[in-house]
Amino acid sequence: MEEWPMILNLLIRGLLFGGFLSLAACGLSLGFQLGFINASHGDMAVLAAYISWILLTTFGIDPLFSLVMVSPMMVLIGLILQKLLLNRFLLKGNMDVVLIVTFALGMCIRNSLQILFSANNRSLSQPYMVQGLSIGPLVIPLPYLIDFTIASAMFMILHLFFVKTFAGRALRAVPQNLEAAMMLGVKPETSYIYAMGIMALTQAVFGVLMGSTYVFNPNSGMAYLLLPISAIMLGGLGSLKKTFIGGLILGEILILCGYFIGSEYQLVACYLIALMLILFKPEGLLTRRS
C-alpha cells in the first residue's frame, strides 16, 4: 500500500510524457497519411533544440521564450527543404525515394551537428524549471507539466485547424479520397506544404521543450523518430485522437519500463512491446478492423 503514491507518480509521469510525445507523433502522422514519410523528423527536432541552445548561450534567450523564434525558423527550413528537395519526389509519387532521401537528410543533420557541436550532451534546462509540484503524496516534475500543457495547447489548435478551416478539412479529405479531393480543387502540392509546415512546427516545439526537459546530443534524433512512430502504430492512423492516445499509452509503457527494468533497457523494452503490438494489430489498437 505504501507503493501507491510511487505508482501513481509513475502513471502520471507516463501520461504527461506520453501526451508530450504525441506532439512529435502527430506532425509525423500527418505526413504519413499523405504518404509522405519524413525519416529526418527526430533529427530536425534535435536541430531545433540546438538552435535554441545557440540562442541561449549567445544571447541569453530563455528556451521557452525562444519557441517564438525557433518555430518560424524551423517552418522556413522545412518549407525550403521541401521546395528544393522533396517536392520533385512527392509530386511524382516516389514515396520510397522520399524515405531514403529524408533518411540521408537525417544523417547529414546528425553529423553536421556533431561536427559543429561535438557529441557532448547539452541541455536547455533552466534553474526555474527544475522543481516538482507537490500535490499531496504526488510529486509532479514541473518540466513534464510544462511540456504536456504546451503540447495539449498545440493539439487544441491543430484540432481547430482541422475542423474549422477549409485547409484543414482538405488535409483530412485527401487521405480518404485523393481523386475526389482533387476534383474539388485541392492541389496535392498545397497539401504537402501544409503537412510540412505543421510537421516543422511540431519539430520546433517538441525539440525545444525536449531540450529543456532532458539532455540531448546529435545522436538523440533516432529515438525521437522511432518513439513517435511506435506511438502512431499503436494508436493507428487517421485522427489526432488516435495518435494522442497512442502516445499516452507509449509514454506509460516507457516510464513504467524505466522504473521496473532500468534505463538501459527502457527504450528497448518499449520497442519490443511496440513490435509485439504491431505484430498483432498493425492497423493500431484503436482502429476497428474493417
Binding site: 540521408a104 544523417m107 556533431q114 511506435s230 528497448v268 520497442y271 511496440a274
Partner: protein, 315 residues
C-alpha cells in the same frame, strides 16, 4: 533483360574478374588486400539490400541485425565452444536466416515504411540484448582468436567467394519462375497479386535468403576484424552504409553495389580520422545522386554504354 546478351557479358566479366581478383593479393600489399576484403564484404551485403529494395520494394533499414547475429553466432560457436570454423560460419548464416524468417513472417505484410521501422527496431533490440549479455562480453566485446591463425590471403579468398555467392544468389533470383514473379512485383505489386503471384511468399523467400547471406557476411567480417562487439555488429552504420552503397552505385543492378562498395571503402579510408565528416558526405552524396542521377554511377555508365554502342546492356 535480354538473357543471351547478358550471358555473354557476364561470362566475359567473370573471366576477367577471376584473373584479376585471383592474383590480387600476390601483387598488392597487406593494406590494399584488407581494403579489398572490406569491399567484398560490403558487396555481399549490399547486393542483397539493393536487390530487395530495388526490385521488390522491400526496404530494410535493419540489415545489421543479421550482421550482428552472424558475428555473435560465430563468436559463440567457434570461440566459446570451439566448434570448427566452417560449421560455425554456416550456422552464422542460418542464424541470420532464422531472424529474417521471424521478421518477414511477422512484419512483411506491413506497409513498406512500417516494415523498415520494424527492421530498425529489431536491430536495436538485438543490439541492446547482446550489449547486456555478459556471456559474450557485454559492451566490452570479445576477441576472436581464430582470426589470428588465418592468414590475410585466405580471408581474402573467403570474402571474395562470399561476394561471388551473393552475386550468384541475385542472379538466381532473376532467373526462372522466381524472376518472373519478381519482375511482376517490381512493375506493380497489386497487379501481380491479382494474377496469382504470391507476393508475400516471394518477398519472404528473398528476404530469408538475404538474411542467410548477410549473416555469413557478419561472420566473415568478424574473421577480418577479429573483434566481436555489439556496436561493430549491430551498429546503425551498417544500415547507412548499405543505403549509401546501393544508392550511389545504382539500385537493383549487380554492378551497382560493386562500384558503390569501392567508392564507400575508398571514402572511408581517406577520411578515416573524420567520422562525422565522412558520414555527412555520405548523406549529402546520397541526396545529390538521388536528385540528379537516381540510377547511380553504374546506372549512368550502363545508360551511356547503351546509347553509345546501341546494345541492351543491363548488368
Amino acid at each position: 533483360m535480354s538473357h543471351t546478351n547478358n550471358k555473354l557479358y557476364i561470362g566475359l566479366t567473370l573471366l576477367m574478374s577471376l584473373l584479376i581478383l585471383g592474383t590480387f593479393p600476390s601483387y598488392s600489399g597487406p593494406f590494399l588486400t584488407m581494403c579489398a576484403i572490406q569491399v567484398f564484404i560490403y558487396v555481399a551485403a549490399a547486393q542483397m539490400w539493393s536487390f530487395l529494395a530495388g526490385h521488390l520494394g522491400v526496404i530494410s533499414l535493419g540489415q545489421q541485425a543479421f550482421i550482428g547475429m552472424g558475428m555473435y553466432t560465430l563468436a559463440i560457436l567457434n570461440e566459446i565452444y570451439k566448434w570448427p570454423l566452417s560449421v560455425s560460419m554456416i550456422l552464422s548464416g542460418l542464424a541470420g536466416a532464422v531472424i529474417a524468417a521471424v521478421v518477414s513472417l511477422s512484419f512483411l505484410r506491413l506497409r513498406g515504411f512500417y516494415f523498415a521501422v520494424a527492421t530498425i527496431l529489431v536491430a536495436e533490440t538485438l543490439s541492446n540484448l547482446f550489449r547486456n549479455w555478459t556471456f559474450v562480453g557485454a559492451s566490452t566485446g570479445m576477441r576472436l582468436s581464430v582470426g589470428y591463425e588465418i592468414p590475410v590471403n585466405v580471408i581474402y579468398y573467403v570474402a571474395c567467394a562470399l561476394s561471388a555467392l551473393s552475386i550468384l544468389t541475385v542472379y538466381c533470383f532473376h532467373s526462372s519462375k522466381l524472376g518472373f514473379a519478381i519482375r511482376a512485383i517490381g512493375c506493380d505489386e497489386d497487379a501481380a497479386s491479382e494474377i496469382g503471384v504470391n507476393t508475400f511468399a516471394c518477398k519472404a523467400y528473398c528476404f530469408i535468403v538475404s538474411g542467410f547471406i548477410t549473416g555469413l557476411t557478419g561472420a566473415v567480417f568478424t574473421l577480418q576484424t577479429m573483434f566481436v562487439h555489439p556496436q561493430a555488429g549491430f551498429g546503425f552504420e551498417w544500415g547507412l552504409a548499405l543505403v549509401f552503397i546501393s544508392v550511389i552505385g545504382g539500385m537493383g543492378t549487380i554492378m551497382g553495389p560493386v562500384i558503390g562498395s569501392i567508392i564507400y571503402v575508398t571514402l572511408r579510408n581517406i577520411l578515416s580520422g573524420y567520422m562525422g565528416l565522412s558520414l555527412l558526405l555520405q548523406g549529402a552524396l546520397c541526396i545529390a545522386i538521388l536528385t540528379v542521377a537516381p540510377e547511380g554511377v553504374w546506372g549512368l555508365i550502363s545508360k551511356y554504354v547503351r546509347k553509345r554502342f546501341k546494345i541492351p546492356f543491363f548488368i
